[in-house]
Symmetry: C2
Subunit: 213 residues, 2 copies
């Protein structure tokens, strides 16, 4: 047995863990009870070795000669990822992207709760979004003084992102989910997860040309 004794887990492994979780959710939903690393690997275009190697960072979840119990493994990975805990989130920037992200219903099922939404635009302040009233950006700092928030979702223009991140950091938010196409500068105990939407289109564009030639 190996278990994770404080060793740093490679980001690659964490990303794959999230993928395993997603696939296992589907398998469980379709009533499949048992799966081997070989079968799972085939489904995901990953080698069985890699799956077993990844899981071995966290413990032993299978049985020799049998494979893995889908529901059990799903449950264990959800614990590892922290999806058994509740996370409070605030949305900063209630544009199309912000609305899309925050209203993705599955997040609530996984323990991610939206507790407030902020925007600078007069015309939407005070309006409803989901079951919240959109607050003016001015009230952000005060809100954070009075409420504990785990994660800030940043869906504002690139030009405003760093300034708001600074405010979140000052008020002790430990997680930032950043959709603005800028690298945020934050202290190292703050976790930033960046979603590279436009980078991903550029990659696609590159690979299309690669195919052609």
């Amino acid at each position: 047995m190996k278990k994770n004794d404080g060793k740093q887990i490679p980001q690659r492994v964490v990303s794959r863990l999230a993928m395993y979780f997603r696939v296992l959710t589907q398998l469980d939903a379709s009533g499949i009870e048992r799966i081997s690393s070989r079968e799972l690997g085939e489904m995901m275009s990953i080698t069985p070795s890699q799956i077993r190697q990844d899981l071995s960072y966290f413990g032993e979840f299978g049985q020799q000669g049998y494979g893995y119990k889908v529901r059990f493994l799903h449950e264990e990975i959800s614990k590892i990822l922290g999806l058994k805990e509740k996370h409070s989130m605030i949305l900063i920037g209630v544009g199309n992207l912000g609305r899309a992200i925050a209203s993705y219903t599955n997040f609530r099922n996984r323990g991610f709760y939206l507790v407030a939404a902020f925007d600078v635009r007069e015309e939407i302040i005070g309006k409803r979004f989901s079951d919240l009233i959109i607050k003016p950006m001015d009230e952000l700092a005060q809100y954070l003084d009075e409420n504990h928030v785990d994660i800030g979702i940043l869906t504002v223009p690139a030009s405003q992102a760093q300034e708001i991140a600074d405010c979140l950091v000052e008020k002790d938010i430990k997680g930032i989910w950043n959709f603005a196409p800028v690298k945020l500068v934050v202290p190292e105990d703050v976790v930033v997860e960046h979603v590279h939407i436009s980078d991903s289109l550029y990659s696609l564009s590159f690979r299309l040309r690669e195919q052609d030639s």
Copy 2:
């Protein structure tokens, strides 16, 4: 000199190329004319070696003792990524996410043009989106028979994604930008770029706990 003589470029390198492009855009906009791999690396938390190594896949863009001309390098990378060409795109699924993606104005500046939008929901079919009229999903196949499209943007629920992808593939679309949380099965000459939005939240959740302990 090395240049890319048909060697396959690692995906990592392509992703970083997109990052370099983004940073160079900013540098150029703020009037900076010259940058060394050391300075650029510092800004991006990347080693100078890696930047030079990455660029060397494609050619020689700098001058010894001087560094790189920002505008020139920006231009060259934009050529490499294929951002000098026009790409036609269709949007499939005009929900919040679809609207957000497609109306991200910068894409048009980079040569990505939205030429049609499709949805299944009666209540929005026929309505305007941007400068388009939203078409019913039934008309997708016919549209693709009559028009050339480079990229399909898939912002539909996970349950519908594969079926639509099959249709796109049959009609010879070569690029799919997939926002649905499913692995699409497509022939290998079709390029799929997947944006892992929920996976990324799970990663964030994991790393928040890692910090704690």
